[in-house]
């Protein structure tokens, strides 16, 4: 999985609690992404980062925040988890895009269940 780890791999939590997922890379890639995967929707981008402390929203960013204090780590936080955030979360990395050529490489995923 291209030098990308995600933790935890599985988590069960209750509605209203905060949750933080971690993505760690050893490839020194500049760009990092968080996606969620839901049946019938493919992968949808939540947030992404284009450098340390540089982040931007994706198409489904409501209810999520991110932080990137080091090149190798990208954190995704659910401020107050809801059942609609039950999903599988994937982190991805890519080198700096050059005219749109970047290939994204994915981590193994985190399965989150919000009760």
């Amino acid at each position: 999985d291209a030098g990308i780890t995600q933790s935890p791999r599985h988590k069960v939590t209750e509605t209203g609690t905060p949750v933080t997922l971690r993505c760690h890379q050893t490839e020194n890639h500049r760009y990092m992404y968080w996606y969620r995967q839901d049946p019938g929707h493919g992968l949808r981008l939540i947030h992404y980062s284009y450098g340390v402390k540089d982040t931007d929203k994706g198409e489904v960013s409501d209810g999520y925040s991110v932080s990137r204090s080091k090149t190798e780590d990208f954190l995704l936080t659910l401020e107050s988890a809801t059942s609609s955030q039950t999903s599988v979360y994937f982190c991805a990395i890519s080198e700096s895009p050059s005219a749109g050529e970047e290939t994204q490489y994915f981590g193994p995923g985190t399965r989150l269940l919000v009760l």
Partner: protein, 111 residues
Amino acid sequence: AQSVAQPEDQVNVAEGNPLTVKCTYSVSGNPYLFWYVQYPNRGLQFLLKYITGDNLVKGSYGFEAEFNKSQTSFHLKKPSALVSDSALYFCAVRDSGKLSFGAGTTVTVRA
């Protein structure tokens, strides 16, 4: 509007037969197209991409894809499918600087 569409939720083929997974796209400008495969309980693995050049792109595990600009398609193909090719396949297109994924096609190859 959806940038990429995979019209088939499921594709079933017999081992040894040709496999085709369909993808159509809708973006302005030159398309950058990708195929990924996901095995159960795993992350997505990159198979191949089209940026420019030859319309037939060869990738990992014997897969190839054909870019057709007039039909705005990028279908994934394998001449002879294996049971181990059974997985979930995603087409993606670069759209507004980000990757937009199709809903995925589940491929089942029966022995």
